[in-house]
Subunit: 198 residues, 2 copies
């Protein structure tokens, strides 16, 4: 807590971080109906000592429910980024999410689509396989007239880095995947008007 | 609709099926707060012509929110099955889900844990890679004293079958993956007391 009674977020690699899991405690189930969930979103936005901050990234679960609605109503959102896997079944949910953000009562600009788990390159023989298909993210972006930001492959280094808390842009900045992440981040910063600061 | 005004579910391979997406229509966003979502769950349970039915499987999104709570309160649930990927970050959510089902106010038996995306075998050279790690499902099941039901690998045939609507137990019943699905289904049927009908 700071002197204003705000929670102090964790910080690593210059990124401040907080999650509902951190507050609730390890393995404790958060059995909350929508209104309580909405209140928690408001708390995470307002009762955490975020400042100074260039940019606040909120990682939301898929869907068009309470958390998503509360976010769009409680905070001035500069834009939404849609992350999807390539297969048709996932793209139906993406179409729903896009239409929610573009709905006149919500009206959040969609900055672009990222295709996750886009392909897998065998570490042994180098064969590339599109386990979940490929290109669905690009097609959806084109269909709705929004930017396609890039493709992130399935890669064991991403899983390990995620669990260790060391992003690949730190552990292996010269790798192809790190370069993909940087390109996406730069496009988003440009779209948000941070261009002159890069 | 049938003569009682109930919706008629789709049916394929002897399995009846309905989803919120089917009712809402293609790509239409379902921007509903918790109470409306809870009402829809009740509708899908009661206003669909399910009978005769051996077993109703409800595929829920991850989490411990409105939909999960409403399900446990509106229907006599025989048991919950937890499906997870192997990495530690996912297992934290599993621990939360398990504790929700075991909470005295919820009290739903957990029938077991399935580890999805357990590994990937390169179609070209046969190398097996544990992209998301391996064994987290088994460790979690052991830790909470519940059965571990099996491992489903990442496999391009599962994605294609899912999008085409043809399960691998139908398209390739002699495959190793089909046998994994059958083993899991049989263990669940036994746990639910269907043993004598197999």
């Amino acid at each position: 807590m700071n002197s204003q009674g705000q929670m102090i977020p964790l910080e690593r690699h210059g990124v401040k971080f907080i999650s509902l899991g951190l507050i609730a405690g390890d393995g404790v189930p958060v059995i909350w109906r929508g209104p309580m969930l909405a209140r928690m979103v408001t708390q995470l936005l307002r009762e955490v000592d975020w400042s100074p901050l260039d940019c606040l990234v909120v990682d939301l679960p898929p869907g068009t429910g309470d958390v998503q609605l509360t976010m769009t109503q409680e905070a001035p959102i500069s834009g939404a980024v849609i992350v999807t896997t390539p297969q048709p079944v996932a793209l139906e949910d993406v179409a729903r999410g896009l239409q929610m953000f573009q709905h006149p009562s919500v009206n959040v600009p969609v900055l672009g689509v990222i295709e996750n788990m886009s392909n897998y390159v065998c570490g042994s023989c180098g064969t590339r396989t599109e386990i979940f298909g490929h290109g669905g993210g690009k097609r959806t972006a084109d269909r709705y007239g929004i930017p396609f930001l890039g493709e992130i492959p399935l890669d064991i280094r991403l899983q390990k880095g995620g669990d260790l808390g060391i992003p690949i842009v730190v552990s292996d900045p010269d790798s192809e995947i790190a370069s993909k992440y940087r390109t996406i981040a730069e496009e988003l910063l440009m779209a948000l008007g941070f261009g002159s600061r890069l």
